[in-house]
């Protein structure tokens, strides 16, 4: 199980940045299908780097790594040359005022979860509802719904993926902060 301190750190410090990161990738990466791959690889790099030494500032670190990853991929694809990145939104620097909206966002957590729950397919939704809202065990859910425990397990797996996706791509106040991490504001830093 994930009992390592580094895992706790990762869940506490890095994963909450996901909506911001997703939005950043959506703005700056044309191929939508590759975004979850990019995100996961960025996570893996952050995780590995943090095993050696934890970064002081997590947000800039995550976005720096993501940016480097994007450059690597672009080079490998050699479809797009570096100049063409001028088109990308990441050059449009805007220094948003620090938002106090993360606070509101925290209070919206339940609402977000509920919205995510509502979007699940009916059977999956019922399983998640019984498991998380009513607090039944998987076995009890199976009994209550008259389905096999394997089906419950499959629906739980499906449900958590859909929830993670919905929570990670939410469009709300926090995402405006992504614009503050436009690392291409100094293009000469690009090697």
């Amino acid at each position: 199980m994930a009992d390592r301190p580094i895992d706790d750190w990762f869940m506490r410090e890095v994963l909450p940045l996901e909506p911001m990161l997703t939005r950043f990738l959506q703005r700056n990466w044309r191929n939508e299908a590759e975004i979850s791959d990019l995100r996961q690889e960025a996570y893996a790099r952050v995780y590995e780097a943090a095993q050696r030494e934890r970064p002081q500032l997590v947000k800039p670190f995550l976005f720096q790594i993501t940016r480097n990853l994007m450059i690597d991929r672009l080079r490998r694809q050699s479809v797009v040359n570096l100049e063409s990145m001028v088109d990308f939104d990441w050059l449009n620097v805007s220094d948003d005022k620090p938002s106090s909206e993360a606070y509101v966002a925290a209070r919206q957590e339940l609402r977000l979860l509920q919205a995510a729950l509502d979007k699940l397919p009916p059977r999956c939704r019922q399983v998640v509802l019984l498991r998380k809202v009513e607090g039944l065990s998987q076995k009890e859910v199976a009994k209550h719904m008259g389905i096999t425990i394997e089906t419950v397990e499959n629906q739980v797996a499906k449900g958590m993926r859909l929830l993670a996706q919905a929570m990670g791509s939410r469009r709300n106040a926090v995402t405006t902060e992504a614009r503050r991490y436009n690392f291409f504001r100094k293009p000469r830093n690009v090697r």
Binding site: Y103, L110, L117, K132, V133, E153, V156
Partner: protein, 312 residues
């Protein structure tokens, strides 16, 4: 392995973990996690989402909970409490008799918001300092707003109209989103979507019907309906996000709004009461509000024992 494949396997492991792992499974999972950081981050990401979903327990249906735990004697107590509430609410309440005592009380303290989901799926958001009683059964859906303000996103059900009692008014939804504010017999209904019917309890059957964009204001037996733009309605409901929006309100009115959300009260004195202001503020951030008044209008701000006095 693509992100998608790793995520799928991670989800399968977590689902098994959620059910309970055998020692052998646990070992195999550890092996898989150690294989690659990609596996591990996929696992942690889903684990985090699944843990966050624990908060959904806050939505647990109060009726279901009651069914499990209430011995019959408890019903009697509730019946007595309900009867007392009815008496306290005035004679008109006597017309409304619960056939079976049930339901749940909800309340928020000053400065707090709370979202609850009723057994029928209707979403209720309580504003600051609000008390209400919700009763949802197979036969009816009733909310009694004792004080404060609440926003309703009603799941339509033609068989069971959704009814809110506030002061001497009855508000019946016709499938909609609306909010009700009550201070004694002052009742204000703001309709965001759909249509509601507002009736005086001793003149049932002579309803005022309000559509989206309408605000119904009542005092005693009088009723005023005004029409507002969508953005004005959104401003009126901005409290749902913990924000107050002002658009050419007087300082006295703005202070009154802040005072609903904070124990520390703002008192505006003299001609400063008539200054008109606009802007949006976090409802619980009195300090920034008065600071801006000081800076913007050169008003003096003095705090004395929980009261912030603002004057020229």
């Amino acid at each position: 392995m693509s992100a998608d494949e790793a995520e799928k396997i991670a989800a399968d492991w977590l689902a098994r973990e959620d059910r309970g792992l055998t020692a052998e499974e646990s070992d195999r999972m550890e092996l898989w996690l150690d294989q690659s950081s990609l596996n591990r981050v996929a696992y942690l990401r889903l684990k985090s989402a699944w843990q966050r979903a624990d908060r959904l327990a806050a939505l647990k249906s109060p009726l279901a909970a009651k069914r499990e735990t209430s011995p019959p004697r408890w019903h009697l107590k509730l019946a007595v409490a309900a009867a007392l509430t009815l008496l306290a609410g005035g004679g008109a309440w006597l017309a409304w008799r619960p056939s079976e005592p049930s339901g749940q009380n909800y309340a928020t303290r000053v400065g707090r918001l709370q979202a609850v989901r009723l057994a029928d799926g209707t979403q209720v958001e309580l504003n600051t300092n609000t008390r209400l009683h919700a009763d949802v059964t197979d036969a009816r859906r009733t909310v009694m707003l004792d004080s404060g303000e609440a926003y309703f996103d009603v799941v339509h059900d033609a068989r069971r109209p959704f009814t809110v009692y506030a002061g001497n008014r009855r508000i019946t939804d016709i499938g909609t989103k609306f909010s009700v504010f009550r201070n004694g017999d002052d009742v204000r209904v703001t309709v965001r979507e759909g249509r509601v019917r507002v009736e005086l309890l001793d003149q049932l059957g002579k309803p005022v019907v309000a559509d989206a964009g309408h605000v119904v204001m009542t005092k005693g037996g009088e009723t005023l309906v005004i029409e507002k733009s969508g953005s004005d309605i959104a401003d009126d409901l901005s409290w749902r996000g913990g924000v107050l929006v002002f658009n050419q309100q007087t300082l006295a009115e703005a202070a009154e709004q802040f005072n609903r959300y904070n124990e520390r009260q703002i008192l505006v004195e003299g001609p400063a009461r008539r200054i008109r202001i606009g802007g949006s503020f976090k409802a619980d951030n009195v300090d920034v509000f008065v600071l801006l008044l000081h800076r913007g209008f050169g008003l003096s701000v003095n705090e004395q024992g929980g009261t912030i006095v603002v004057s020229r």
